[in-house]
Symmetry: C2
Subunit: 438 residues, 2 copies
């Protein structure tokens, strides 16, 4: 029979068992951290009606959506978890209790041009607090980000925070109309630098003086007190700006009240988050060791999540971790431990098929004690069985042959040290659970 | 603005938080049980090249596949986890160690006609042992099924087992050529009864005598010794049948060696599993309390998993739980506890905004102790905050007002009993962790 090449499209990542175990561990750490703050799990269907999900229409996103027809309906794969959340909240409004804390860890799909760290199928980990407009909610997001990265073993982060009202009010006071375009250009500052971005600003019609003033604001950053002073000194005449200043002052205090170290966050007016639905606090998170990879967790406050679906204004705030991208970055930086390609702690190896029944019974007893155990199921030499254990990283092998059978015991080999002990099943349980065998 | 109805297509299930928590609990129980037997987690991409995934072509499945084009390529959503596993194993053959134990818990998509218990987007939980052709591997599957349902709180199952070689050998000895078709008809016996199925068998060319003999075999079932005796007494002259008999005898012994209660499984020649890739042992699992819902976990042994992709024969054995369907059945039967719509154990409620900082700090300390905690983030009356806790099922509310602030304590209200205690943060930790406070 002619064989078909078992290939998968680029941008659809798959892992070897060792990597998958490391990936799942991160996923579970994120999940546990989100639940620690009381966020409830939610999962929305991956496939939706195109007309519903693309209600907003237009924009870059639309081109990146995987759509398909089946019967007389057009469907699409969800491209983020925010629009499905809006649709879900609108559909289940009466059943939900607000403030509604939910997290969602799912794959999303985008027909992007795949490149390093950019995927077509990838995990997003979103957390949102809906139905609350208070500053303590904004502060909670900072705690969620900080504690989640700490749980991931990445406590060395800087969470950069701004407030869209500051930037919007400042632009308003300068008489700049193209505020959304300017915000998107500010987002490019880090990659392209002030000179290039300044030119782009002039191209959309800003005067040289306006450009200078916008770049001046975007460079304001640092610890809260200093930034607040700097912002006050701009003397900006705008109610929106004043409101933003009030909010960010309250926010800094509320973050510290939660015990977040001051070194882990800073206010940074260079963070604009040029998506048009953000209306207040915005966040980006950088790994201090690898600032060049950009933000690994971003989000912000929005005034009206369900605007397209529901006649009720639901404010909220949320952030998202692009887990697939983060995992790939950490893998490339050799920051991920991958000790084992299996959850197995003990492999039972038989010198002959006739011992398999004894091995199976012992394995069942160990499982009853909560130990992950497998039995080598094939007739095979001991050397091969040990080689297998070694290849996938099983820490212990329990061997049974004539002598062990007679003694009613097993030879337990610790693979790393090579140390061997003749032990009963009960002793094996204690040994592999790390308790003394005496 | 005109609103868009936030609807989702039928057959794409979504849950309320309370249901999602119960669903995730089942999923985690299955995951832990699979890992207990040493199966490694695996996830394949949901989207594949249509030409690769549909290598086999034809059949019912093809019509049920969601396909779409993007650029010059045709893609599809995976419709099961077995074909992707075959493709994955072929692609990563050199990196994997065999016997390869993997589990895969993912959504799959099928454009079926949605009805009760049949979905278009649903979870499958697959477990396969690849690269082993021994009977102990077949026996392990029975242990995996039994222990997994026990972990789910559903120990009262009957795992029905047969061996395709018995049926195939028997049909061969009777001179029946249409063996695949006959096997598919045998699968219909339970729903349609022997009379209707007998007629269908005659329609595809079996003689009345052949029909009688096939129905006779399909009715053989019960404890192993009896079935083996019955099978021997058929006097079937077929090497394949003899091999099947030998295998099922060994299998029954190997199952018992693992400590599986004899009452939990039976040999049943009425189980044919009419999929053409099964070649040996086949399994179906029934809930004794709800036999009418049919099999909730099925599978079998196959000789050559990767035949379409790889020039190597890889035998294996596996079973699959349709989790979405199982969850819906149990939900309908009121067998699922849904105590809470949140992971939160303690809600901090403030009598006034000015206590929010104190509440936030206390919440952070509780989280440090591993307790899931949320702070009510809005200015709101106590009654409303208690109502919220009650609605989503938060067990404890820690209240702070003037008196508590002065005392450096919180009033902890146990929502079920209504009991209130004035406690310090340390005392709250002990109380909610179920340790005595004295």
């Amino acid at each position: 029979m002619e064989k078909i090449e078992p290939k998968i499209p680029r941008g659809f990542p798959e892992y070897l068992p060792r990597e998958q175990i490391a990936f799942n561990k991160m996923l579970e750490q994120i999940r546990a951290s989100f639940e620690r703050f009381g966020y409830a799990p939610l999962e929305t269907s991956a496939v939706e009606y195109a007309e519903v999900l693309l209600a907003k229409g237009g924009g870059e996103t639309d081109k990146q959506v995987y759509r398909f027809e089946k019967g007389d309906k057009e469907y699409c794969l969800h491209f983020d978890l925010t629009v499905p959340l809006a649709r879900y909240v609108a559909a289940n409004y009466r059943e939900l209790a607000f403030p509604f804390r939910r997290y969602q860890i799912q794959k999303v799909w985008r027909a992007e041009n795949p490149q390093l760290g950019r995927f077509r199928e990838f995990y997003q980990c979103d957390v949102d607090l809906i139905g609350s407009k208070s500053i303590p909610s904004d502060a909670e997001m900072v705690a969620v980000i900080y504690e989640t990265f700490r749980a991931l073993g990445l406590p060395d982060v800087t969470i950069r925070i701004s407030n869209r009202k500051l930037l919007a009010g400042y632009l308003e006071a300068l008489g700049i109309k193209e505020s959304t375009k300017v915000m998107r250009l500010i987002d490019k500052l880090e990659k392209q630098g002030p000179e290039a971005v300044g030119k782009l600003m002039e191209q959309i019609g800003l005067t040289g003086d306006q450009v200078q003033k916008v770049l001046f604001l975007a460079e304001i950053q640092g610890v809260s007190e200093k930034v607040i002073r700097d912002l006050e000194q701009t003397g900006t005449k705008s109610a929106q700006f004043a409101q933003g200043l009030k909010e960010i002052r309250e926010l800094a205090a509320a973050i510290l009240a939660q015990g977040i170290p001051a070194a882990c966050f800073k206010i940074d007016l260079g963070i604009a988050r040029g998506l048009d639905y953000y209306t207040g606090t915005v966040y980006e998170t950088y790994l201090n060791k690898y600032p060049e990879v950009g933000s690994v967790c971003s989000g912000g406050r929005y005034d009206n999540l369900t605007g397209y679906y529901l006649d009720k204004e639901l404010p909220g705030v949320g952030v998202s971790i692009g887990l697939t991208r983060l995992f790939e970055i950490l893998k490339e930086k050799k920051e991920i431990e991958m000790p084992s390609a299996t959850p197995t702690k003990v492999l039972f190896a038989s010198m002959d098929e006739k011992f398999l029944a004894t091995a199976s019974a012992a394995a069942a007893r160990l499982r009853g004690e909560g130990v992950n155990v497998e039995v080598y199921p094939e007739r095979s030499g001991l050397a091969e069985q040990l080689k297998y254990a070694n290849k996938i990283g099983i820490p212990y092998v329990a061997i049974i042959g004539e002598d062990e059978q007679k003694a009613g015991k097993f030879t337990l080999k610790e693979m790393k040290s090579g140390e061997q002990k003749l032990l009963s099943v009960d002793e094996i349980v204690r040994e592999v659970k790390g308790q003394p065998t005496e």
